[in-house]
Amino acid sequence: MSKPTVGIFGLTGCAGDQLVILNCEDQLLDLVSLIDIRDFLMASSENDDDCLLDVALVEGAVVSQRDAEKLRAIRKRAKILVALGTCAVWGGVAAMDRGADRRKLLQEVYGEMGLGYDSAATQAVHEIVKVDLNITGCPIEKDHFLAAIGNLLNGDAPVYPEYPVCSECRMLENNCLLIERGELCCGPITAAGCKARCPNLRVACVGCRGPVSDANPSSLLAAFEEKGFDRQAIAARLRTFAPQGGAQ
């Protein structure tokens, strides 16, 4: 059987999800013997940028026309398109205030010249093209990526946790940062899968994996207000990694 063809792409972001792939030091050489990576600009200077792909892995958000065109071209080539990481799945940090006046921001930063730059309000991948699988996380967890590749090789659909970070945190028997220490912890509404990395280290969850599917922000809002936080601080915290209305 021929090996499935794979492309790994970065739109606008920090390249952290591609780096997680390269950080699979123990599995990387086995991985490349099982899949045929045809297009991976971050790791190779010889790429086929035209071939059909069984799987396209796309990280980063769409912040320009250039990104949008690149993404549409990838979609045309790919049987399965996977959004890799919070920026691709939700828009990520660049989308946190996407209602802001883009022209004003560009001008503030780059002067008049900024107005000539190709720049648009940040969008997640699913807002431009159809996405077949989401792997969230900022960055993605290594084992989620490896499981996805294993599952796709076997023709299975990967399954990821559909419960909040709190569930994982409680399993680890941590003291609750929100209830017991009054910290602004986003664990109750954030998708699990990180083994509660932050609260497990006594650091409040910042919500970097995006909202869990059955999130109940209004109940969290009430809990925060009870702890004395003002609405502005809460709103800012809740939309850091996923913009309002970005739920899919």
């Binding site: 200077s45 250039r66 990104d67 930063v109």
Partner: protein, 430 residues
């Protein structure tokens, strides 16, 4: 008019290209094109509470995410006058060494080495030189182990907070690190062998100015707040608060990164600059490593940055081991972060990220909300110097065949280890 255009640089972090115009025998415009999308993070972060700033601005770049986090915290702590404990200082420095080990191993073995040996990637190289690629993977993993243990995650550390750390590592974790670092020490010789065996490359020969943090403890990247510039025999010092003297940036249309110079002259930051500025540290194992790699300072060839990274890889592993042994000897204390009392003010943090000087400067209001953020990254500082070296590369190449020029230009670009996501930083106009 003929041009050499490298549409999209491969094996670098982010999206950039090179354009060189040739007018007969002379070189016209030379551009390092940066078309990484603008995320406007420095504007978007405004209004956030002080403890939310580092997790947001670390997302500027993954490979340097520990450096961005810690430089961010240094700026915030300076603004509020927070003093972190000596133990936290050591742990932060250890995290830096871990990041540098990972970053240098990634760059040397996965991004740069394939060029010298005419392979498109480390994956292709693995078939011909499995030992070298395995060595690179082992060292990358070592750097990531340090980052996971101290920072809580290899990419975008979660355990670093204003005032110190969420949780300090356990003795068992430090012992595990010590074992891994000792194994890493045993790999250093092989690193030097691999790098010394690469074919010599000298595509562009010219005087180069260098800038790096004056390291109070020589081998460290985190402490210190004074930058030294070395330009031939001249040495100038710039204090952290005056960082704008270095980053007198200009917007240019071909790039979302701004260009910097000092005294009208571009300068280079990164491994080669660090070794040049802190030359007193090049004794013992490092002097031997320099000799093995035939690295002489000050270098007149930017490709030597690869050799300098190999020397630093050796010194990083040695220093990380030293730090772990120090922490084990003194006994690690389970301490909470230092208390943060917010106040209105400005703070600047300068450190040495794997790719060179990194500067974060913030202004806070009296409630601890950030009102202005300025981030100057190594790749942005390097952009003008890269263009100068691209120009010299083309000028000094006897051939005019596009493939030859393109290969050389790409190798020079990669020697800088550019991090293009980083370079698209947003600086408020002064």
């Amino acid at each position: 008019m003929k041009s050499v255009v490298i549409e999209h640089l491969a094996r670098v972090e982010g999206h950039g290209g090179i354009t060189v115009e040739l007018e007969g025998g002379t070189v016209g415009k030379v551009h390092f094109d940066v078309f990484e999308g603008a995320r406007l993070l420095e504007s978007l972060v405004c209004g956030k509470r002080y403890d939310e700033v580092a997790p947001i601005l670390s997302r500027i770049c993954s490979i340097c995410s520990s450096a961005h986090s810690l430089t961010s915290l240094k700026a915030t702590e300076n603004a509020f006058g927070v003093q972190i404990s000596p133990q936290a200082e050591l742990l932060r420095e250890l995290l830096y060494q871990g990041e540098s080990i990972e970053s240098h191993a990634l760059h040397l073995f996965f991004l740069a080495a394939p060029d010298y040996l005419n392979f498109p990637s480390a994956i292709a190289l693995a078939a011909a030189k499995p030992d070298a690629v395995q060595l690179g993977l082992r060292l990358k993993k070592l750097g990531n182990l340090v980052q996971e243990t101290i920072g809580g995650r290899a990419v975008h550390p979660v355990n670093v907070v204003p005032g110190g750390f969420g949780t300090v590592p356990t003795i068992d974790q430090l012992i595990e690190l010590r074992t891994a670092l000792r194994e890493g020490m045993a790999d250093c010789d092989a690193v030097l062998n691999v790098i010394a065996s690469l074919p010599p490359t000298d595509f562009c020969h010219c005087d180069t100015a260098y800038a790096a943090l004056l390291s109070p403890d020589l081998g460290s990247y985190y402490p210190g707040d004074e930058v030294m510039l070395v330009n031939n025999g001249d040495r100038s010092r710039v204090r952290a608060a005056d960082y704008r003297m270095l980053a007198n940036e200009q917007s240019v249309l071909h790039s979302h990164a701004k260009h910097s110079s000092f005294g009208g002259r571009p300068f280079m930051v990164g491994s080669l600059a660090r070794l040049t500025v802190n030359a007193q540290r090049l004794t013992g194992r490092l002097a031997v490593a320099m000799q093995r790699l035939q690295l002489q300072l000050p270098a007149r060839n930017p490709m030597d940055n690869n050799k300098a990274q190999a020397v630093e890889l050796v010194s990083d592993i040695e220093r990380a081991l030293h730090l772990v042994e120090h922490l084990l000897r003194d006994g690690i204390k389970d301490e909470r972060p230092a208390e943060v009392k917010v106040r209105a003010g400005t703070g600047t943090g300068i450190t040495e990220a794997p790719r060179g000087l990194l500067i974060h400067s913030y202004t806070y209001d009296s409630e601890g909300r950030i009102t202005a953020a300025d981030v100057i990254t190594p790749t942005a500082l390097n952009a003008a110097s890269m263009e100068l070296h691209f120009r010299r590369t083309v000028e000094q190449c006897a051939e005019r065949e596009e493939a030859v020029l393109a290969r050389r230009l790409q190798m020079v670009a990669r020697a800088y280890d550019p991090c293009i996501s980083c370079s698209v930083h947003l600086v408020r106009r002064q």
